[in-house]
């Protein structure tokens, strides 16, 4: 089967390419002209230069393909306007479906996000039937909600079967631009105060998320969203596990929403002066105290069986410590646990 993967250089896209190639798919990876192909270096996949906002390039890219996994997106909680996020999410997705229809591709998996299902103030897992409240809608969340709606509507219109894959906090390797999800790990290790905060998240290994995409492609029902997640953890538990895996102490203090908000504001200011993207933003700080806990029962019914959160963390850390995201100085302070070494071998 010939598979087009958009966003082939991103965290999820590159891992989809890797998994698909491993499973025997004939993969064409769509990369923007400015993208680095480092994440799929050495992988036997065709590189195709194009852009989801360039419909012409998509038509050529989709030619002769049997299916599309559309992972291209801007995953950022800062640094982009709502309009930019919307354009890539909504117009980009419509373009992909148009290109699919024109090329006779019948099935498209669109990478959405679990945030479209919202979050809770209590530690209760949410499922695909849940919706985000207006109060928690950041530009990124709004873009993902609009993307999903546009994908289903446009799929119906163009007779293309569309499945929405909703990953939770996805961590793991080949993340050369450092996504906000892996940045959670890096941020904690860089933080000299080793702060933690209330609320929680669901973490998933990027390998599982990639397999989840392929599973939906093969068995998913058109017009449905599927949460592909892993383990629900409180932030404190997550931070404790990171500390244990990296041989550092902490977390030392639990900060509330106020502390997280001020810290994020300071981080944004430093990023502005240092001319680099902040590791965390005020948009993310507003998420503090909420539980982004999810159930992946719907995907599990298709055979989705993610690894444990501990394993996902160990694998992500095993990759991150060899990457430039962990500085030389920070690496020198880490005493990696045996689990990290074991994860590296796997």
């Amino acid at each position: 089967m010939k598979l087009l993967v958009t966003g082939g250089s991103g965290l999820i896209g590159s891992n989809v390419v890797r998994e698909a190639v491993a499973l025997g798919y004939d993969v064409r990876a769509l990369l923007r002209p400015t993208s680095s192909a480092a994440a799929i270096e050495g992988i036997a996949a065709e590189r195709f230069v194009g852009d989801v906002l360039d419909i012409g390039s998509l038509h050529v890219a989709a030619a002769n393909c049997d299916a599309i996994i559309h992972t291209a997106a801007i995953f950022a909680y800062g640094g982009f306007t709502g309009a930019q996020l919307h354009d890539v999410a909504v117009i980009g997705t419509r373009n992909v479906i148009d290109a699919a229809a024109a090329a006779g591709v019948r099935r498209v998996v669109v990478t959405s996000s679990s945030v479209v299902c919202g979050s809770s103030t209590d530690p209760v897992p949410r499922d695909e039937t849940c919706r985000a409240d207006n109060g928690e809608k950041s530009p990124y969340v709004i873009a993902k909600i609009e993307q999903e709606g546009a994908a289903f509507a446009h799929g119906l219109e163009r007779s293309v079967e569309v499945m929405a894959c909703c990953p939770t906090l996805t961590i793991g390797g080949y993340d050369h631009r450092l996504s906000p999800s892996n940045a959670v790990i890096v941020m904690f290790l860089r933080d000299v105060l080793r702060l933690t905060y209330p609320g929680g998240c669901n973490i998933a290994s990027v390998s599982d998320v990639a397999r989840g995409h392929l599973l939906l492609l093969e068995r998913g029902s058109s017009g449905l969203r599927y949460i592909v997640g892993g383990e629900n953890l409180t932030w404190t538990d997550l931070h404790r596990r990171i500390a244990a895996l990296c041989g550092v102490s902490g977390p030392y203090f639990a900060t509330g929403r106020t502390g997280a908000y001020l810290a994020a504001a300071a981080n944004e200011m430093i990023g502005l002066v240092a001319r680099r993207a902040p590791l965390t933003t005020r948009v993310q700080a507003r998420m503090v105290g909420r539980y982004y806990w999810y159930s992946h029962a719907r995907a599990a019914a298709l055979g989705y069986a993610p690894r444990s959160g501990a394993q996902a963390l160990a694998e992500a850390i095993a990759w991150l410590v060899t990457s430039p995201h962990i500085s030389r100085e920070l690496r020198a302070t880490l005493t990696l646990s045996r689990d990290v070494y074991r994860a590296r071998l796997t």
Partner: protein, 730 residues
């Protein structure tokens, strides 16, 4: 600890001569002729003819006059009339192939007319002698060849002019003068100018140690004759940065450079070893075994040396490379008609600073301004350096240092004795319990004997394939520079015996706050490669800066029963504490001392093992940044300038968001005063207006909206926290 390994053996026991000519009845030419004849210049030339097989007319003679010149006829430079007289003397005696040589220095980046020919012209060289003998002034940055030095030399990989290298006779003709940093600067400093890189201050004083460079240079390419022009000398605390002429009516000449320098220093009434440069050369090369000094050694009357406060403060100031590079030209007294500044800001800053601090001996205010200003910069530099050592190690420069010993001067037996000595110490730890993790330590004669170990769950074969144990010390925490020379390799080409100099940041790092020295140790090392065990043993034989009494030990990588890797480091260490710490009676606080030692070793080796793991992961672990070996040259980074500082400030201002700048203007300006504020400034500095909207109102709304959102979010966060405190989550 043996400390004599650094000494270079002199090639001969020939009698060396120095002549001091100071006869008041002679003019300066007469002094020159008397000095060179008295020291035996003509015998030297005759001998060189004999040794090279060349006729006198073909004997290539290269003279290196001193071009430390910022004013016309300055006594900081060699008098051109004396140099031309010397050339005439050569011609009169049949030596027709004498040239002058020089290179440009760091001032070329600040001042105009600093190229070799312009400088010679402005110095008063006419390119033809009074007796109509033409001569050339060569740029020694042309036609370069590799410096031929043994491995481990500080000049390894450097280039030098073919003319200087191949000269049959090299003559140093320096000017007699004081120097702010080294108390006096005669021919050793003059000779460093034969090296080709333009930014000499950066390359030969900061990147490399001036004393190392000068010593290695004169060892490798010795001068055959040295002359000191002390007819009119330059004295005083300002050294070469201000004019301080004094008639000393003397010319000193000698067949041995260091002896001539020593005599020049004695004539100034200072201890020759007070100059770090001459002290290092005397330590490593030494004075001739047989020598004769002719003439009056009495110090010059009314001579003023550099005040110790000034020299001490300049030395400390110059430890901050960036600041000292900028300050040196700004403090230099300059004749602007001869050497205009490239940059008007630098020109103004120079005019102000020279007026304030130009004559420290004549003006007490200038003196204290010099001392206090230098101390202030030094304190800033020390604070910055301490910060970098503790929190920003990658902002530090690597240290480039010569090995400091001849590794081949040690016998194989001396190397092979090292493992036995180290292992014998290990038994001291047999019954010592682990204090933290896998660290055990005890005292032996004030030294700490320790062993620390870690099991690393990586297959042994993979580990040793990635981590070369012979470089084990370079992977240790806070390694900032050094050099290793392999003396013997095994059949597979792996180092077995080697000598290594290592420099580490002060340990623990917080000692940097109290003037803690970098740890600088030179070691003999033995490497073993067994099927299930790789090991590196070392024994310290020299600590150039006296920072260590002991630093002996081993790194051992062993295969465990499970095929994984156990890394063990054993050692005996005793490092010198900063003076402030020595005031504390550590024995009275034995438990505190034990705690500090344990913490220091735990931290150091936890980071060292992390480095080992990172090396196996394929990461670079070395702290700091490399010096740019081509700075100031084509392909290298340009030196900083005041204009660059201005650009940097502009860049910082440029990252501030327009809202911020507008809001700041409003706050400072007390409100909106003109429609212009509503425009948008583009990258080229043009303001754009949109007539269709009310720009002022729009801007105000944007700023206030942002602030309101921030405050609203903050209030919401506080409310949520308060609510959570009232009813905590399960």
């Amino acid at each position: 600890m043996r400390q004599t390994g650094a000494r270079t053996t002199r090639p001969s026991v020939r009698e060396e001569r120095v002549a001091i000519a100071s006869d008041r009845s002679l003019d300066k030419s007469g002094l020159l002729v008397e000095a060179v004849e008295g020291a035996g210049l003509w015998e030297i030339l005759a001998r060189r003819c004999s040794e090279t097989g060349r006729a006198a007319a073909a004997l290539s003679i290269v003279i290196k006059p001193d071009f430390t010149l910022f004013h016309r006829l300055s006594p900081t430079a060699t008098d051109p009339e004396l140099v031309e007289r010397l050339i005439d003397e050569f011609h009169d005696r049949g030596f027709h192939s004498a040239v002058l040589a020089n290179t440009v220095d760091s001032f070329v980046f600040w001042l105009a007319n600093r190229d070799v020919l312009s400088l010679a012209d402005l110095a008063g060289y006419r390119f033809v002698t009074p007796k109509e003998r033409a001569y050339d002034v060569l740029d020694l940055a042309d036609d370069l060849v590799g410096v031929e030095v043994p491995p481990g030399s500080v000049l390894e990989g450097a280039l030098i002019s073919r003319v200087w290298r191949d000269a049959d006779v090299r003559i140093a003709f320096g000017a007699n003068k004081t120097d702010e940093e080294d108390l006096f600067a005669v021919n050793l400093q003059n000779l460093v100018a034969v090296l080709p890189l333009r930014d000499k201050f950066y390359h030969y004083r900061q990147r490399l140690d001036l004393a190392d460079v000068a010593t290695e240079l004169v060892s490798t390419y010795p001068v055959h004759f040295a002359i000191v022009d002390a007819v009119i000398s330059n004295h005083g605390s300002a050294g070469t940065r201000a004019l301080g002429p004094i008639e000393t009516h003397t010319v000193i000449a000698g067949t041995d450079l260091l002896l001539t320098e020593t005599v020049a220093a004695k004539k100034m009434g200072v201890d020759p070893a007070a100059s770090r440069v001459l002290a290092a050369a005397l330590e490593r090369i030494g004075l001739p075994q047989r020598s004769v000094i002719i003439g009056d050694m009495t110090p010059y009357p009314r001579w003023r040396n550099v005040h110790p406060f000034v020299s001490a403060s300049v030395r400390r100031r110059n430890l901050w490379p960036e600041a000292s590079w900028m300050l040196a030209p700004l403090l230099q007294s300059v004749d602007r008609e001869l050497f205009p500044f490239h940059d008007v800001t630098a020109d103004r800053a120079n005019a102000l600073l020279v007026r304030l601090a130009g004559q420290p001996d004549a003006d007490p205010l200038a003196f204290w301004l010099c001392v206090a200003g230098n101390a202030l910069v030094a304190t800033g530099g020390h604070a910055l350096q301490s910060w970098r050592i503790m929190a920003s190690k990658d902002a530090l420069h690597w240290r480039e240092a010569p090995l400091g010993i001849d590794p081949f001067a040690y016998s194989r037996t001396e190397y092979l004795r090292v493992p036995d000595e180290v292992v014998s110490l290990r038994s001291l730890l047999r019954d010592v319990p682990a204090v933290e993790g896998e660290l055990r330590w005890t005292y032996l004669d004030d030294a700490v004997v320790f062993e620390v170990s870690r099991l690393i769950p990586v297959p042994f074969e993979h580990f040793v394939a990635r981590l070369d144990v012979s470089r084990g010390i370079q992977y240790m925490n806070d390694y900032i520079g050094g050099r290793a020379i392999v003396v013997e390799r095994d059949a597979r080409g792996r180092p077995m015996l080697q000598a290594e100099r290592n420099l580490y940041l002060p340990q623990p790092n917080y000692l940097a706050l109290s003037q803690g020295k970098p740890i600088d140790v030179t070691k003999l090392e033995v490497v073993e490669y067994l099927e299930s065990r790789h090991a590196l043993y070392w024994k310290t034989i020299l600590s150039t800066n006296g920072s260590a009494r002991y630093d002996d030990g081993m790194v051992e990588l062993e295969r465990t029963a499970d095929g994984e890797t156990r890394a063990t480091i054993f050692g005996r260490q005793e490092f010198t504490l900063p003076p402030l710490w020595n005031l504390i009676n550590h024995e009275a606080n034995a438990s505190l001392k034990r705690y500090l030692v344990t913490q220091a070793y735990t931290t150091f080796f936890a980071r060292t093992f992390a480095n080992f793991e990172a090396v196996v992961e394929g990461r670079e672990v070395r702290i700091g940044k490399q010096w740019d070996p081509l700075r100031g040259e084509e392909g290298g980074e340009p030196p900083p300038s005041l204009a660059a500082v201005g650009e940097m400030l502009t860049r910082i201002a440029g990252v501030l968001p327009p809202d911020f700048a507008t809001a700041a203007r409003r706050i400072l300006g007390g409100g909106v005063s003109s429609v212009a504020e509503g425009g948008i400034l583009d990258e080229d500095g043009f303001m754009h207006f949109n007539a269709a909207v009310q720009p002022v109102q729009t801007e105000r709304k944007g700023v206030s909206n942002g602030a309101l959102v921030f405050i609203a979010d903050l209030v919401r966060a506080v409310q949520q926290d308060l609510a959570a405190m009232a009813s905590p989550q399960p």
